[in-house]
Symmetry: C2
Subunit: 149 residues, 2 copies
């Protein structure tokens, strides 16, 4: 692997929706699985959310479906500017990102920025951190980096 | 698995693009892999392509990247009406479908239609056949069934 991420294993597909309750029910029925818990991302103070370089109060409701080798993540964003809200407003509902598990978040984000793929949003969650990289112009989908401790 | 497909393993993510040569080069560089062959889907006579119940001359250029547990499929459609062209015109470039390997295409398509998920497009390829199911209203992504002989 001489790629920028050091991995090509997709761990997650993130899909933007307007009504996470309704879409979660549809997934549960379609795939014959239990409807998972739906929860809010952590508030700004805890998640240290940054969007386009500035602290951001943006949050989203999330639901995760285990689909064999990867997860489908449903995302219902609030109305603050974020990678989720802006993409949803521009493209409508539908897939937003593919995610990869990486190590060394700071170095990866720097390497990607130097290579023409700027950081769009980042934040912390219990047990790790995420970064959305604006790969859309080149790859036609956003890439999310996930680093679990 | 009591779901409609009998599987929840995502085997492919399909992404619509305007310029498959350029986007393929970007994927090869980003992931550190070789640029794959780009080829046209078979002509209507051979593929027996049907879109919304009628024979269709629609074709697309395809490129496949092996990404560990699944493939990323880049799709550059021609200008005939198809699931690809219509979605691209409506949503712009970006992810279009997730695919699942199934057995018993005819029965699955009938079961899905009865359950509120109509067939949108189908066709044959060397060694198998595909069907795009219009799951977008419920799942916010299209589902493609792939049956390899």
């Amino acid at each position: 692997m001489s790629g920028l991420l050091g991995t090509n294993v997709v761990t997650q597909i993130g899909i933007l929706v307007h009504d996470i309750e309704k879409v979660s029910e549809a997934y549960a029925a379609f795939f014959g699985v239990e409807k998972p818990a739906i929860f809010w991302t952590d508030p700004m103070e805890q998640a240290q959310t940054e969007f386009e370089g500035n602290p951001s109060p943006a949050r989203a409701k999330l639901a995760f479906f285990d689909m064999g080798s990867l997860q489908i993540e449903l995302i219902e964003p609030d109305h603050h500017e974020s990678t989720w809200r802006n993409y949803l407003n521009e493209h409508g509902e539908g897939p937003h990102h593919i995610a990869f598990g990486i190590k060394g978040m700071k170095d990866k984000v720097e390497l990607l920025a130097k290579s023409g793929f700027p950081l769009q949003q980042k934040g912390e969650y219990t047990g790790g951190r995420y970064a959305y990289i604006d790969t859309f112009p080149q790859l036609k989908v956003l890439v999310e980096l996930l680093e679990n401790d």
